[in-house]
Symmetry: C2
Subunit: 227 residues, 2 copies
Amino acid sequence: MEIKVLKNIMQHNEDLAAENKTILDRQGIYCINMMSSPGAGKTSILEQTIARLKRKINIAIIEGDLMTSRDAERIDRTGVPVVQINTEGGCHLDANMVNKALQELVLEGLDLLIIENVGNLVCPGTYYLGEHDKVVVLSVPEGHDKPAKYPLMFQEAHVCLLNKVDLLKYSNFDEKIFLSDVQALNEDIEIIRTSVTTGQGLEDWCQLLLKRIAGSKKTDVGSKLGD
Amino acid sequence: MEIKVLKNIMQHNEDLAAENKTILDRQGIYCINMMSSPGAGKTSILEQTIARLKRKINIAIIEGDLMTSRDAERIDRTGVPVVQINTEGGCHLDANMVNKALQELVLEGLDLLIIENVGNLVCPGTYYLGEHDKVVVLSVPEGHDKPAKYPLMFQEAHVCLLNKVDLLKYSNFDEKIFLSDVQALNEDIEIIRTSVTTGQGLEDWCQLLLKRIAGSKKTDVGSKLGD
């Protein structure tokens, strides 16, 4: 009985997520869902990403938080459109919330939509929002054992940013274990080592986004031509 | 309809948590529920706590993890009894899981039971397990803005350990904002600054535990006397 209710909820979420993806594809917008524990550095990475890309492409952000609009305020200062979703205690974004946020954005002309999920390394991994790629951020101080202990998000993600690598020298983070655990869970995942403090890896990360945006537009044109 | 189901689930959890508390009180066991994001340092703090206290009192640990028994193996090496709960993807412990774990432990003669919850700064905060006190661990690299962004756990907690304070000098963590945000949420919370690397604060933390264990036994004797 309880399981049945949960299945209905999840099916409803999948349907709405598919609708979100149709909306995005129609406009040729590449969309990522960024997930991590609280404080892994999602918002700081976004600020840096926007600073590097906003003169080349049109970006919008959806900010998910339990409470407060602090992250949205940080993004607002970068000058790109941002919509804040407050889950009011909810531990993840769902497709319905994103659907409503999409209605608040001018989608025409956008190239990249980044959804910053609620800081939580567990629950957001089970909710598809309609994104093209999932990106998981793990920061060095969290420890190399986290992929093995929280496998779902690493199994689902297309890209993993290992952030705060400038703190490697002050920690006992074992990169070999981290890499072998992540690759055992997901052999196709792309891993980029980043640091917002030193700038390391951010250029690679932005190049990856630009490549995927270009690929997404090609597919989109193809589908428009019935290809 | 969905809300009704959720209420039933939560009521069932509250009932089982009350049962857990009765079991613990009958044996005079003081119990804490430790919660934090993944990687804030819960297991490392436990290892240090056990090392400092195990010759003075009898301790047992319940380890909550989605998968793996890595944390339980770490605790096992300290020589105290440990039961592993694998939630198999579940984002928090509930009272039923703890109830089953209690059946696996020899409770007689125990002074302190520490439940290490799943690493998640959101969901575990809503599930009462029967513990006497909730302890939230926040680590410096997560950022000073986390109490405001994830308020529930800080509202509910009796003690907050600010961990990894040895990393303060490498971060932009603003302790003034952290303290004022936490105290705005919860004026009764006790805050201890800790570092497993330098040992800072661990003695204060252990003293606090010993004091609460003594208090708990006094209450227990009182209630036995019908006082």
